[in-house]
């Protein structure tokens, strides 16, 4: 299995560990990643706030770079914001020939062109659909038995494009988490909004939304995320939220590939666990992580086997939003 890889700016900065863990996990799962050469910012949510064409061009540039590589593979994106931006750009360009022409005109400045044929895939989509829980279960070296994990999806990998999961009641993480031996927290906050950039622009509102998620994860040991923005909001503002509301305790927040990586016995250091802002002592103890984060102290004796009778594949992708019909006149 092979994918083109677009890490995005956050994964070079605040979400370095997401990048590290993704690479380490996929390597362990024998998936080859080819990073798109000379990639630049996708435009994030800011570019559309300035100009539509600029947004298309910034994202389009990266898509064009990906298309230019010789490798015929899907473009894997771990950052939900980048994923949505790139995905939306592809969809827009496919649907709007004028936008396609304009974008190509801009990209021509850099000698690039785009066809819109490339498929943009979220990391969670690849993990849940292409690899599936069985790929994890078969390689578990360190069972996370008794650990309760709250799967937190955030918005932009689910909406507005319901590609691989139910945008309102998502479940794609659950099989993966169970494959590690961990339990899945039953909650309804998985697809709720964390407040996104409100943390910068409307801090009160941002804290309220993130606070609600943290509060609902009370009974979980870990919150698993698949988006740098969500991760930062949940781990970086935990203390401020607790101070403000007068309740709430420190909660371990991990990127999903980190959690899966631990179960596969990948050394914490390779998963960038030291870079996380919220990893509780209890959690460290649970996974028997030693101080220098390099070794797992003991291998768990149990091996988890694939449940019998289940095929590879996982859930059917949820069908795309269908086009609306109108009666013949």
């Amino acid at each position: 299995m092979q994918y083109l890889y677009y890490p995005g700016c956050s994964l070079e900065g605040t979400a370095k560990e997401y990048d590290q863990a993704t690479r380490a996990l996929l390597q362990r799962l024998e998936v080859r990643l080819t990073e798109v050469e000379d990639w630049t910012c996708c435009g994030a949510s800011a570019a559309p706030g300035i100009s539509r064409l600029l947004a298309l061009a910034l994202a389009g540039r990266n898509l064009a770079l990906a298309e230019r590589t010789k490798i015929k593979a899907d473009l894997l994106v771990p950052c939900s914001a980048c994923y949505l931006n790139l995905k939306k750009t592809v969809e827009t360009l496919r649907a709007d020939p004028q936008a396609m022409r304009d974008t190509n005109e801009v990209l021509a400045e850099e000698g690039l062109s785009i066809s819109g044929k490339i498929r943009v895939r979220h990391l969670l989509d690849v993990l849940a659909t292409d690899l599936g829980p069985s790929a994890i279960a078969g390689k578990v070296a360190f069972s996370l038995k008794d650990l309760v994990v709250a799967p937190y999806y955030g918005c932009q990998c689910l909406r507005p494009y319901p590609v691989f999961d139910d945008p309102q009641n998502p479940t794609s993480m659950e099989g993966l988490i169970r494959a590690t031996g961990a339990e899945v927290l039953s909650w309804s906050m998985g697809p709720r909004c964390c407040g996104a950039s409100h943390m910068t622009t409307h801090m009160d509102q941002g804290m309220q939304l993130s606070g609600a998620i943290l509060a609902a994860a009370r009974d979980a040991d870990v919150i698993a995320t698949v988006c740098p923005m969500c991760q930062l909001n949940l781990e970086g503002f935990q203390k401020q939220i607790a101070r403000r509301t007068g309740q709430g305790e420190a909660k371990t927040v991990l990127y999903l590939p980190q959690l899966l990586g631990i179960a596969l016995g990948i050394p914490p250091k390779e998963l960038g666990l030291a870079l996380n802002l919220a990893v509780t002592e209890a959690f460290k103890k649970r996974i028997a992580m030693d101080e220098d984060l390099s070794v797992m102290a003991a291998q768990h004796p149990e091996t988890i086997r694939q449940p019998p009778g289940k095929g590879v594949g996982g859930d059917e992708p949820i069908s795309q939003r269908r086009s609306m019909g109108a009666p013949s006149h």
Partner: protein, 1146 residues
């Protein structure tokens, strides 16, 4: 028993199918009615009550004339008509030929229980181990794998759910009549070949299959080996691995199918080669399984193939026409986003399921309790537009009937709880678009306290405290609201029924964007395919009366095709049976069913014989085994020919089930049907004996009671008057009053069937409102329709046109009316006719509201349409156009929605937008009544930038005019919370429709008007174009506000109803009918008031009371109120009843 040649085959036995079938049968056609379900009645079989009566009236569809041709019983129990054969669980599998000569191939799935043998005793149900959700009750109750589909159905009562059945076999020995066949032997023989290069796959598959009872399984490790085996044995099913060395699976498939195309093959594939497997389906593979697969899934598929092979019975018939009446199916709210937690939240159900909650045979026997936990219901919320009016799920249409269903359900819930239950309906537009809908809504809201909240609920979650459903919605006040209720009812919309796609392919009938069948412009009952007609909700979700009107129109079109193709309709005049002289002494043959020997074992038959023959009227007593089956009716027929009785007494179980037999027996022996009676023996199974699992049968009646029942039967027969009912001659000609859309359609329909028509029109031209209508919402030009109708009417040899004539007087009754018409010069003429169709039309209502008449920029929608038609409307000159809806409508003074105004306003708005995209259009409305597929034009109008502003009748928009030609409207926008001033170049008022049916004219024919001045139907739902007086019909705007297409359909429906009468030389209502003993009658006339059918009157000349035999329905109300003993009901006379009572207490 079934015929081979039919005039028509009707696919779908819901109410529309039944209506079409009855209409055709009543005009002399032989009809085959099929349904994929095991019972007739369709969706309506699950709805106990309909508004506005809040009761059921399905039986009102039954014939009122020649009633003896059908069984006058509850249609929920069964459907019997001498010209209609019903095949349950049957689908169309092939169709060729054309109008007049269709070859129809049908596929009937046997349900495991022989309906001829099943007596509905229920013994099987007690031993069946499979507990599954009951489909009929929407899964709110449990059933067994072998179960009754419809709790109250009499025929074909039990079926086996093949998918759920475990084939444990427990039910087979316990069935006392041996009606159950699980096909074990055929399963053993069923030949399966597994082809896979992996030994482990071959072995495990074989083992699983053997365990499932498939004993004839062979395996092959390569394509070549498989081909050898195929030559040697008759393999029915192949399971083929896609990827094999040498010949691969697809090659094998092709070769295996080459000489045996009916061989079934299923491909087995790894995930990687799914594409190949999909490809293989093009080469004839049925399906594919992805390895590693679940044994259960594999076995389910094999079972399915097996069932399809063994339990399907093919049948070929011919038909002159085909009517598609497959109806619609409920949207599954669990589909897609499912924000309301359907299927996950226990207290969220569909409106159809709530119908079951209300039903006496529902999960809680009609008690108003929550299905999941039995908690008494105190707060119920209905959520409208679930699966409708939702572009996200390709449903840019309105399902039309959900608003009224919810209102009705809320009222029924109120009824059940003595108004204690709190009911709230969350809606977007309350679409009360029919004649009686608005008053019903008003009553529900104002008198019954049903809360109507204009809001779309966003989500349903469980309350953290109680677990009860918690609704979240944004109120009109701009605030978020939460409401906790006990039960959420989702007013789920509708989708085409599942077989629509296949039917479209087989019949070549086109479908629309949403998968419903597409009718032809102005011809709701015509499909795009010749000879294929459309009835009911298969074209659009519709309410009962629209479905029935369209069904009658479809019957008319089918009849027309039959006539055109030279089909002879075989209508027998009068009863086939020869009469019995009134004074002939009764000779009764008593035939008693021994029902699989049960009677002879447990009864002293000698005693029964001596008891019966003590009365010399009983000439012979005959014991016959299985009178319910062909085995029993043979000996009985022979005995009748031998003994020549003039009365027949039968004792058997379930009298209704024998109605078809009885009719056939009457035809073959000449013994009139009304001189046969069937006594219910109430057969039930015994408890199994200790040494066996088998049950036998016994009658539930004690010896004395059985004897008394038989004696009652004898008493009944002895006193039955053998005189045949009176018949009245028919003037086989029609009078149609009004030459608009509906009138012309009605006239042409009747004339095309060969009967003369007098068409009377007040004006000097035909066409009515067609003259000024320019185009329809759908964009069809109106002029060509008018020209075509005009030509056809004028040139039709059977139509006599009376232009500029008015009806000045009329007398008579069904079959013989005399109408005096007068022309402008005052010359009169008397027309004689057997039926009358009132198609006097309607007009745009007049108004003085909003300054109408004071300013030339204030016009009505009709005026705008005229301007558009004449080219006067200069859209380019207008910057702003405003429209006000519901002017003078939906108010207590005119309490109905005119239904055409919203489509007209939007039609005009779209037209103006097209001509001048810059024109701003504001439509001020109360509820946007864009029902059905017209909803998409509402969306289109919104998309085109038309601004819709809601107003409340309590706060009407203000209008001011200025001399510069500008009309200023002031209205408050409730959402934006701003007062708007709209300066418009044109203000268009939608004043609605008023009927033009003078009460005096209606009274000539015994018809009455409703509160809106429209023709009062006999029943707004079930007899939508019939007057209370038989022989008088209405259509078009005189009947109700209608579109052109609806008026055309109503015209045809009225014609079809009229043809039932015209096709007879003489008329009879059938048995029983009322009569008058003049010697006793003192003319107190209580019976006239009591007669609900208007069949009784005083002949003033003769000073005596007369009964119209064609109109009397034999209800007996007259006999009940008559104190003189003068009003009597033939066949239920006082002497007869007294004799039966004496026999009963003997």
């Amino acid at each position: 028993m079934l015929r081979e040649n039919y005039h028509a085959v009707i696919i779908g036995a819901g109410i529309a199918g039944i209506r079409s079938a009855l209409d055709l049968a009543e005009t002399g056609s032989d009809v085959l009615l099929i349904d994929r379900a095991a019972h007739p009645g369709g969706l309506l079989s699950r709805l106990d009550a309909q508004f506005p009566t809040d009761g059921c009236g399905m039986c009102k569809m039954l014939p009122l004339l020649e009633r003896d041709s059908a069984e006058a019983t509850c249609l929920r129990k069964g459907f019997f008509h001498e010209r209609i054969d019903f095949l349950p669980a049957t689908e169309l599998s092939h169709l060729e030929g054309g109008p007049g000569r269709f070859a129809v191939r049908l596929k009937q799935t046997l349900q495991g229980v022989d309906p001829q043998l099943c007596i509905g005793c229920g013994a099987c149900e007690t031993v069946c181990p499979v507990d599954m959700p009951d489909d009929f009750n929407s899964g709110l109750s449990r059933s067994k794998a072998i179960h009754r589909v419809v709790p109250h159905a009499v025929v074909g009562a039990y079926v086996i759910d093949a998918a759920a059945c475990t084939r444990c076999g427990a039910c087979v020995p316990i069935c006392p009549t041996g009606a159950i066949d699980l096909a074990f032997d055929r399963r053993k023989e069923f030949s399966i070949l597994v082809v896979d290069d992996e030994l482990s796959v071959r072995d495990s598959l074989k083992e699983w299959l053997l365990n499932e009872g498939f004993m004839n399984v062979q395996t092959a490790e390569s394509g070549a080996e498989a081909l050898t085996l195929l030559e040697q044995s008759d393999v029915k099913l192949l399971l083929i691995d896609v990827k094999m060395p040498g010949m691969d699976g697809v090659d094998l498939l092709k070769q295996a199918k080459a000489d045996h195309p009916d061989r079934v093959a299923v491909m087995m594939t790894a995930y990687a080669t799914v594409d190949t497997a999909v490809e293989a389906m093009k080469s004839g593979a049925l399906d594919y399984l992805i390895k590693p697969f679940d044994p259960q899934a594999m076995l389910a598929m094999v079972n399915r193939v097996f069932q399809a092979t063994v339990s399907v019975q093919e049948r070929q018939v011919t038909a002159g026409a085909v009517i598609l009446a497959g109806g619609m199916t409920l949207f599954d709210p669990g589909e897609g986003v499912n924000p309301y937690g359907y299927g996950t939240h226990p207290h969220v159900i569909t409106s159809l399921a709530f119908e079951r909650v209300l039903s006496g045979c529902g999960p809680s026997q009609g008690r108003l309790v929550r299905p999941a936990d039995g908690k008494p219901l105190q707060r119920i919320a209905w959520l409208q537009c679930v699966g409708s009016r939702d572009c996200q799920i390709s449903a840019d249409f309105c399902s039309r009937i959900c608003c009224m269903i919810s209102l009705k359900e809320a009222v029924l819930a109120k009824n059940k709880s003595n108004d204690a239950v709190e009911t709230t309906i969350f809606y977007t537009d309350m679409r009360t678009f029919g004649k009686s809908f608005e008053p019903y809504r008003r009553q529900a809201e104002e008198e019954r306290g049903v809360n109507l909240v204009r809001a779309r609920v966003h989500s349903v979650t469980a309350s953290p405290e109680s677990g009860d459903p918690l609704l979240r919605y944004a109120g009109l006040d701009g605030r978020m609201h939460e409401a906790e209720v006990d039960l959420v009812v989702l007013a789920a919309g509708f989708r085409p029924s599942p077989e629509t796609e296949a039917l479209a392919e087989l019949t070549q009938a086109e479908r629309n964007a949403w998968g419903f069948f597409q009718p032809q412009p102005f011809a709701a009952a015509c499909s795009s395919a010749e000879g294929i007609y459309l009835a009911g909700a298969c074209t659009e979700p519709v309410e009962i009366n629209a479905a029935l009107i369209q069904a009658s129109a479809a019957a008319l079109e089918a009849g027309r095709t039959l006539r055109r193709s030279g089909s002879q309709l075989a209508l027998a005049e009068g009863p086939a049976a020869k009469g019995v002289a009134p004074d002939a002494p009764p000779r009764i043959l008593a035939a008693i069913c021994t029902c699989h020997g049960c009677l002879s074992e447990t009864r002293n038959t000698e005693k029964l014989i001596s008891g019966l023959t003590r009365d010399p009227a009983v000439v012979q007593v005959l014991f016959v085994d299985q009178l319910c089956g062909a085995d029993g009716w043979g000996p009985l027929e022979a005995a009748i020919k031998d003994v020549a009785p003039n009365r027949l007494l039968v004792a058997a179980c379930h009298p209704l089930r024998h109605s078809t037999h009885r009719r056939a027996l009457s035809r073959r022996t000449g013994l009139p049907e009304n001189l046969m009676t069937i006594v219910d023996m109430k057969i039930e199974p015994t408890e199994p004996q200790a040494d066996t699992t088998a049950r036998s049968l016994r009658t539930a009646l004690g010896e004395h009671v059985l004897s008394a029942s038989l004696q009652m039967g004898v008493a009944f027969l002895k006193h039955t008057d053998p005189t045949a009912p009176e018949r009245e001659q028919v003037q086989r000609k029609a009078l149609v009053i009004g030459g608009g859309t509906a009138g012309m359609h009605a006239a042409l329909a009747i004339a095309d069937m060969g009967y003369g028509v007098d068409l009377v029109e007040k004006e000097n031209r035909l066409g009515g409102n067609l003259a000024w209508l320019h185009h329809t919402l759908e964009g069809h030009a109106v002029k060509p329709l008018l020209d075509q109708l005009d030509d056809r009417v004028i040139q039709h040899p059977k139509i006599t046109l009376h232009l500029e004539h008015e009806v000045v007087n009329a007398v008579g009754r069904v079959g013989d009316f005399r109408t005096t018409v007068q022309n402008a010069q005052g010359r009169t003429e008397i027309l004689r006719h057997g039926v009358t169709i009132l198609a006097t039309g309607g007009l745009e209502a007049e108004t003085t509201a909003y300054g109408y008449g004071t300013h030339r920029a204030i016009v009505t929608q009709q005026a705008l349409e005229r301007q558009i038609g004449s080219g006067e409307a200069d859209a380019a000159a207008w910057d702003v156009v405003a429209m006000i809806q519901c002017v003078g409508s939906r108010e207590p003074s005119r309490d109905y929605c005119s239904r055409v105004c919203c489509p007209t306003a939007i039609k005009h708005a779209l037209y103006l937008k097209e001509k001048n995209p810059r024109v701003q259009i504001y439509i001020l409305y109360r509820d946007v009544m864009m029902t059905g597929f017209s909803e998409s034009y509402y969306t289109e109008a919104r998309r085109a930038g038309v601004v819709f502003i809601p107003y409340r009748p309590q706060q009407l928009p203000g209008v001011e005019t200025s001399p510069d030609g500008i009309v200023t409207l002031s209205v408050r926008d409730p959402i934006a919370e701003v007062d708007l001033k709209i300066e418009a170049n044109l203000l268009v008022l939608a004043t609605g429709v008023v009927p033009r049916l003078p009460a005096k004219l209606a009274a000539f024919y015994g018809a009455t008007l409703d509160s809106g001045g429209f023709f009062q139907e006999a029943d707004s739902k079930w007899r939508p174009v019939d007057g209370l007086r038989e022989g008088v019909f209405a259509c078009g705007l005189a009947l109700a506000p209608q579109t052109i297409t609806e008026a055309a359909a109503a015209g045809q429906a009225a014609a079809q109803r009229a043809l039932r009468i015209l096709c007879h030389e003489s008329l009879s209502a059938g048995h029983p009918t009322a009569a008058v003993r003049h010697s006793l009658c003192v003319l107190c006339q209580r019976c006239i008031d009591a007669c609900p059918y208007g069949a009784r009157s005083v002949d003033l000349e003769q000073r005596r009371l007369v009964v119209d035999p064609a109109m009397c329905q034999g209800c007996g109300a007259c006999a009940a109120v008559c104190l003189n003993g003068a009003a009597i009901l033939n066949h239920h006379g006082a002497g007869q009843m007294l004799a039966m009572i004496d026999a009963a207490v003997e």
